[in-house]
């Protein structure tokens, strides 16, 4: 029985998956629209003004950045707005806790779910990038576990904010103060080398930087330099943030 109880987070994950499945197509298309607008708008518009960036056409450079940034956004939105609805507004978490589901299962289920949803939308973007011939890499499948890991990072960070949030308005601060600057500092739109040295140092502390550093070479058909270091940074952030989110959830819900 204890072995079975240990797997209850899967029931939480499946609950969210069932909701998603009902709206899967509009959800994926909706998640696709925003990054595509950026990628084509900036990629072709701005790209036509630029010679090559980092040795490739700008749109090829931008593809990896867009993929990572939109994976980040997808995980963040799910772990913030959607999880907050379930925790605070609909009291779905309370209903689960009345059943033999532990809070660890609820938070783990939400964590892995938001990363899964990020994987879905990241995969859709990857498919478009591939279909349009923006990548000829033979290493595309390596990108999938990496965007899942990136999803775990931002899902866990989002859950920290969710467990602290008094209302939806709170999330605006998170986006304005963290997510938006991170998008600009992590090498999504331009190479890190364009940043002044102090900001380059800051960029090294941001999870999105490490994801871009892994995904961009893979899309360009190269091997990323020091891949284990980047993976280790992402995994450490993901696990640490999850542990913090869990503690905060316990404080909020099991008082």
């Amino acid at each position: 029985m204890n072995a079975l109880l240990a797997l209850r987070w899967i029931a939480v994950w499946r609950r969210n998956f069932l909701v998603w499945r009902k709206l899967a197509l509009p959800s994926v298309l909706g998640n696709l629209a925003d990054p595509m607008i950026y990628m084509f708008g900036l990629g072709y518009g701005l790209g036509s003004l630029l010679p090559q960036v980092a040795g490739v056409p700008y749109i090829s450079f931008l593809a990896a950045g867009t993929l990572c940034a939109s994976t980040m956004n997808s995980a963040s939105f799910e772990a913030l707005y959607s999880a907050f609805s379930r925790m605070h507004v609909q009291k779905t978490w309370d209903a689960m806790l009345n059943a033999p589901v532990a809070l660890e299962d609820v938070v783990a289920g939400e964590w892995i779910w938001a990363a899964t949803k990020a994987l879905f939308s990241g995969s859709a973007i990857l498919l478009v990038v591939w279909a349009l011939g923006l990548t000829e890499s033979s290493q595309l499948l390596w990108v999938l576990p990496l965007i899942f890991l990136l999803g775990l990072c931002f899902s866990a960070m989002g859950l920290i904010v969710t467990t602290l949030a008094p209302s939806y308005d709170f999330f605006m601060f998170y986006f304005t103060l963290l997510i938006t600057p991170m998008t600009l500092l992590s090498g999504v739109f331009f190479p890190l080398s364009q940043l002044p040295p102090p900001l380059q140092a800051v960029a090294q502390a941001l999870p999105l930087t490490h994801a871009v550093a892994l995904v961009r070479p893979l899309l360009l058909g190269e091997l990323p330099p020091s891949p284990l270091l980047h993976v280790a940074v992402l995994a450490t952030i993901a696990l640490t943030a999850f542990a913090i989110a869990l503690k905060l959830a316990q404080r909020r819900l099991l008082a």
Binding site: A11, V19, D94, A95, M96, A99, P100, L254
Partner: protein, 312 residues
């Protein structure tokens, strides 16, 4: 009372000297009670008396400061999840899943208990029928009335065929028709041998359903026993309510001559009497005052023990 007739079987719920405080304020202050198999036990108390905190402790959702809890034979909070496997809960506020149909709500909830989908699907039509929701399996939640949602929550609490049901104010906010339907279903469950613990502040609900009740105020049990016995022991058998202009004045000047106790709220005097005849004869000569003569009920006991001041 012990309809299951198993004196050796463990009590579905034993609570001993339970205490829990928040920020120095005692929400629960030394509560003890024990349920008998197959009975309906009511926790009654004004808002903020500690009913919901007690339930949260029993489910292992809050760690008490002190005290012992055994839920369906398991020590809580250490083995709370194992205990919850055999308990059904109807929470005070509906937390059904708005994204799902009625049947999907039950299916998804069954998974939280580790029940295989095939088993759950076999059980769902039966549970929906029981809840008076037969044929509503594909109904969206937004299409269900408040009473229907409450009944669906009850059906959800039964998905694991629990030994014990915990109901937190199961009929708050429902119209009389919907309340009667819930009561009828709860009686049926009791008839099937289920044990029920419910909290309520509706005295008619407690009197109707509960074999025994405990009245809680300020985190302590003020009294417990069978409703009829408590009414017989704790209060005068008859109540004469006197209302209308001048009732308060009348009570001040005359009530003591007829009633052992008389409580005035606003322009209504509640006179508690052993024998109502002399008082009624007197009131016949005061046509400006209207009167209502009735037997004492649980609400009178409750108000006597917990006072008439508002609790918010």
């Amino acid at each position: 009372m012990d309809s299951a007739g198993q004196p050796s079987a463990p009590s579905p719920l034993v609570v001993r000297n339970l205490a829990k405080s928040y920020g120095g304020r005692a929400a629960v202050d030394g509560i003890s009670f024990e349920l008998k198999r197959g009975e309906c036990f009511g926790l009654l108390g004004p808002n903020g008396a500690g009913k919901t905190t007690t339930l949260r402790c029993c489910l292992g959702l809050t760690t008490p400061d002190s005290g012992d809890i055994r839920l369906v034979g398991e020590a809580v909070p250490t083995r709370a999840r194992e205990a919850r496997q055999r308990v059904g809960v109807v929470p005070q506020f509906d937390n059904l899943d708005p994204d799902f149909t009625a049947a999907e709500n039950l299916l998804v909830y069954a998974r939280y208990f580790g029940i295989a989908d095939a088993d759950a699907k076999r059980r769902i039509p039966e549970l929906l029928d029981f809840a008076g929701l037969g044929g509503k399996d594909r109904s969206k939640l937004s299409g269900l009335s408040g009473g229907m949602k409450r009944r669906l929550t009850l059906a959800r609490a039964l998905i694991n065929d629990p030994d014990l049901l915990l109901l937190d104010e199961p009929t708050t906010g429902l119209d009389p028709q919907a309340r009667h339907l819930i009561w009828e279903r709860l009686k049926r469950l009791l008839g099937d041998g289920k044990t029920i613990l419910l909290t309520t502040h509706f005295m008619d609900e407690a009197e109707r359903l509960c074999d025994r009740i405990a009245i809680i105020d300020a985190g302590r049990i003020v009294t417990q026993g069978a409703p009829r016995a408590l009414i017989g022991e704790l209060i005068e058998p008859s109540v004469v309510e006197v209302f209308g202009d001048g009732a308060a004045h009348w009570a001040h000047d005359h009530a003591a001559g007829f009633a052992r106790r008389c409580e005035v709220t606003g322009e209504t005097a509640f006179c508690y009497v052993e024998d109502a005849k002399p008082l009624l004869a007197h009131l016949d000569r005061r046509p400006e005052l209207r009167t209502l003569h009735r037997p004492a009920n649980l609400e009178d006991v409750f108000l006597k023990l917990t006072g008439r001041e508002l609790r918010d």
